[in-house]
């Protein structure tokens, strides 16, 4: 008997014009770990909600078809019956924890199913042990990190002793360290042989070794691919690219290599496998170079790269004189400079004094764990937080002296949630708003708005309400509105958060183009693969201190520093390492 079975499931939310699920058929066998992929908006979360009976039980809409989980028909079973068979973990740690203390949270579900306190005690202890939270049993939830909260959410469903676990993008809000820890727990749960796991994720590289099945939910609301990872990623590659889903790095690399004439035998899913497979091919210098070149992605030699290539090879640390900071600033204009002085007089300020220079035309990534001070630093840069005079300089002038109006014309800041930035009810007004302070003629405003709409692929939505756009479109609109006044420095807070691969890639390419046309880009991100591919420089923060600023390449050479900052190597760099080791 399959642990999960869906037969011709259709569901349309009440009031929606077309169904989000339209004839889904799938089976997941007991103790399998299956990955569910799909573009954003494809209906993955709705599918997850079908598995514990919230659809059709609790969410209004039109439902049709049969869902059987652990032998129960979800339409016939009660919520309580399902809750002890299916555990759901959601994306946002804040919105799924109900109580104020760790112990209470784990007890919550057990109390609902009316267990005796002695039994609860046993289960709480076990669930906390499984998730590595035993030491935090009596802690307050608001003192936990995002990763700990997510582990707690997992613990609170594990305590219900379900046989099926469904996790809906559980690491989306976590930093690399939190993600690694959660995945490690999932690996152990899988190894225990007690759980059938359905995982909705797009950080695939770390999951390949523990995935038995891959299911792809297509845009049409139907399963577009189903099979072992190798089958799906290699036989239906083009289809998946078409769908816009995230793909494992090794798979993308293999396809790129094949296109360039390097035959990769077999179907590798991880870079370790790729390297092993390549060993079988006579690895000539030429092939190796080709592989390395392909692995590095389409990173272009941009203006900033050229500018800083004059730098001495710099083992860039902050105390080293020859770091990226100190690069011959005489030749390259410094857009933004932070001088090593206290940001505020406030004793418990997050950031410690640091010296940081952002050169014109640079593509800088701010990285570090959640809470390290990345957003705080970015907010100082645009004066949302006021630093003392003499700390931050924009174009050589103290930020404290810049009038707010002028500043918004120089720096654009794209927030993580694009909705927060909308100030009008029409897409085109949204863009025109940014031109207000320039006092342009109406024709000029219209022309500029038109150009921006074209450039960001929003022309069809000029009259739409910003709130009605899709997630990717909202993001594009908020970015466009931050560029329209001619801002030359653009700061983006987690720009690819919640985006599917197609949208994310498109956005990053736009950023690269902007950089090439003379803009300076600063991004805050956890996605090391993306940083390796696009960013020229990286600044690493740890507990409010700047512990590294230099070229991205050099950051990846410093493993102890990465470990200290809770960061990891992206697969492209890992591949390069392994490959070099093989060839020596």
């Amino acid at each position: 008997m399959s642990a999960i079975e869906m037969r011709d499931v259709r569901f349309a939310y009440a009031g929606a014009s077309k169904p989000v699920l339209d004839g889904v058929r799938l089976r997941v066998e007991a103790n399998e770990t299956a990955l569910l992929l799909g573009a954003s908006g494809a209906g993955k979360s709705s599918l997850a909600l079908c598995l514990n009976g919230l659809i059709p039980g609790g969410i209004p809409g039109e439902f049709d078809g049969v869902v059987r989980v652990a032998g129960m028909d979800t339409a016939a079973a009660t919520i309580a019956e399902l809750a002890v068979q299916v555990g759901l973990v959601f994306q946002d740690p804040e919105a799924q924890l109900v109580t104020m203390k760790v112990e209470d949270e784990v007890a919550f579900g057990l109390e609902n199913i009316a267990l005796e306190p002695e039994e609860m005690e046993r289960r709480i202890e076990e669930a906390l042990r499984q998730t590595g939270l035993s030491a935090l049993r009596h802690s307050r939830i608001d003192k936990l990190s995002g990763g700990q909260k997510q582990r707690l959410a997992l613990a609170s469903v594990l305590a219900m002793r379900p046989s099926v676990l469904v996790l809906d993008e559980p690491t989306a809000n976590l930093d690399p360290e939190g993600t690694r820890e959660l995945f490690a727990i999932l690996r152990e749960l899988r190894a225990s042989g007690r759980y059938t796991i359905l995982l909705i994720e797009h950080k695939l590289d770390e999951l390949m070794e523990m995935t038995d099945r891959v299911l792809v939910l297509g845009r049409g609301g139907r399963i577009a691919a189903d099979g072992s990872p190798r089958e799906v990623f290699y036989r239906q590659y083009d289809e998946l690219v078409q769908e816009g889903v995230w793909l494992p790095y090794a798979v993308q690399l293999a396809h790129r290599l094949i296109r360039r004439g390097v035959p990769v035998p077999g179907a590798s899913l991880t870079v370790q496998e790729t390297v092993k497979l390549l060993e079988a091919v006579p690895l000539t210098e030429e092939v190796r170079e080709l592989v390395l070149h392909t692995a590095a992605g389409r990173k272009s030699e941009s203006a900033a790269n050229a500018a800083v290539s004059a730098e001495t090879g710099a083992n860039a640390g902050i105390d080293s004189e020859s770091d990226a900071n100190a690069a011959d600033g005489a030749e390259t204009e410094i857009v933004l400079e932070i001088k090593p002085a206290e940001f505020t007089r406030d004793k418990d300020g997050v950031l410690k004094p640091m010296h940081l220079r952002v050169l014109k035309g640079d593509f800088l990534a701010l990285v570090g764990q959640n809470g390290a001070g990345k957003s705080t630093l970015a907010r100082y840069m645009i004066k949302l937080l006021r630093a003392e005079p003499g700390v931050i300089y924009l174009q050589g002038r103290d930020l404290a002296e810049w009038p707010a109006q002028l500043l918004t014309r120089e720096i654009g800041y794209v927030f993580q949630n694009p909705e927060h930035q909308f100030v009008t009810n029409r897409v085109s007004d949204e863009l025109a708003f940014g031109l207000k302070s320039l006092a342009l003629a109406k024709e000029e405003v219209d022309a500029r708005v038109e150009r921006m709409l074209e450039r960001f692929g929003l022309a069809a939505y000029a009259d739409a309400n910003p709130f009605q756009l899709s997630h990717g479109e909202k993001r594009r609109l908020s970015t466009a509105s931050m560029l329209i006044a001619g801002q030359k420095l653009l700061i983006l807070d987690e720009p690819t958060f919640g985006q599917d691969q197609r949208n994310a890639r498109q956005l990053m390419r736009t950023m690269k183009e902007l950089q090439e046309s003379g803009h300076t880009i600063v991004i805050i991100s956890h996605d090391m693969g993306m940083i390796a591919e696009y960013a020229d420089h990286a600044a690493v923060l740890k507990a409010g201190r700047l512990i590294f600023h230099g070229r991205t390449r050099e950051l990846f050479d410093r493993e102890e520093l990465l470990a200290e900052a809770g960061l990891g190597l992206p697969p492209s760099i890992e591949l390069e390492r392994l490959l070099r080791a093989v060839c020596v």
């Binding site: 609790g58 924890l97 109900v98 609902n112 219900m160 949630n417 927060h420 100030v423 940014g434």
Partner: protein, 264 residues
């Protein structure tokens, strides 16, 4: 954990209830003053609260008391001031001793109420309180957990609000000017409302998928019940409050008791 923290939340509520009601009846300065002193003493010693923290919480209320003292003498009706000593003659208005004392008494009465409630709020965990309400006073658990969810959401909403304000600021949207209040409210409300709805929906999913509301009765990991020390505390607190009132009346300082004090 101090003695007060360990007490059942409902015991503390029961203890402060009658003295608070009695305070509402008093009209003079001495009763609230004595109650304030005694309650602060109990809170600081049995509750192990640092005096500095206590003062920080109280400070805004002290300003309110001061406000009453400054404003009341000008507002009270002639009946209150009748036969009272004239303290200050500003020409357009006169300040009598009785009017001043009346303002002071009102301010102190409010402060005394606050001080009593602080004994409860400073030493009680919200979860414990809600748990006790559900288990002992049979408040519906759906309501209890609803309240808890709202409390959890308040800091998140505050955070969201700050984000929205910053995001608007970056766009050069100030929304300044009194005529723009409506527009500004709408602009802030939209993203906040959408975030709140989303949050509420997700919270409901998370609760439902852990069988919330499956049965009419829940069990509880931690039982909430009155213990011997709770009854002792309630009794002692009541006796203390009554004794204070008796002492005051013996020295003729209790003053007139009255529910309605509007002499305007």
């Amino acid at each position: 954990m101090s003695c007060l923290h360990r007490l059942n939340p409902l015991a503390k509520l029961l203890a402060i209830g009658p003295p608070a009601l009695f305070l509402a009846l008093t009209t003079n300065v001495w009763t609230p003053l004595l109650y304030i002193t005694l309650t602060i003493g109990v809170t600081l010693t049995l509750g192990n609260i640092p005096a500095s923290r206590y003062f920080r919480v109280c400070a805004p209320m002290l300003l309110v008391v001061l406000g009453f003292v400054l404003v009341y003498p000008f507002l009270v009706s002639g009946r209150v001031n009748e036969g009272s000593e004239l303290w200050l003659d500003l020409g357009f208005a006169k300040v009598y001793e009785a009017g001043f004392l009346f303002g002071l008494a009102t301010g102190l009465r409010l402060l005394a109420m606050l001080v009593l409630s602080l004994l409860f709020t400073l030493t009680t965990d919200t979860t414990d309180f809600i748990r006790a309400l559900i288990q002992q006073w049979k408040v519906s658990y759906r309501f209890g957990f609803g309240a808890l969810a709202v409390l959890r959401f308040v800091p998140l909403l505050k955070n969201q609000f700050q984000l929205v304000r910053m995001a608007h600021q970056v766009r050069g949207y100030t929304g300044k000017g009194s005529r723009k209040i409506l527009e500004r409210t709408q602009r802030y409300a939209l993203p906040l409302l959408s975030a709140s709805l989303r949050h509420a929906e997700r919270m409901a999913y998370s609760m439902d998928s852990r069988a919330f509301g499956a049965y009419r009765n829940r069990t509880y990991l931690r039982r909430s019940a009155m213990a011997g020390r709770d009854y002792v505390f309630i009794g002692a607190f009541w006796i203390g409050a009554a004794a204070a009132a008796l002492v005051l009346s013996r020295f003729g300082l209790l003053g007139k008791l009255s529910l309605l004090k509007t002499y305007h």
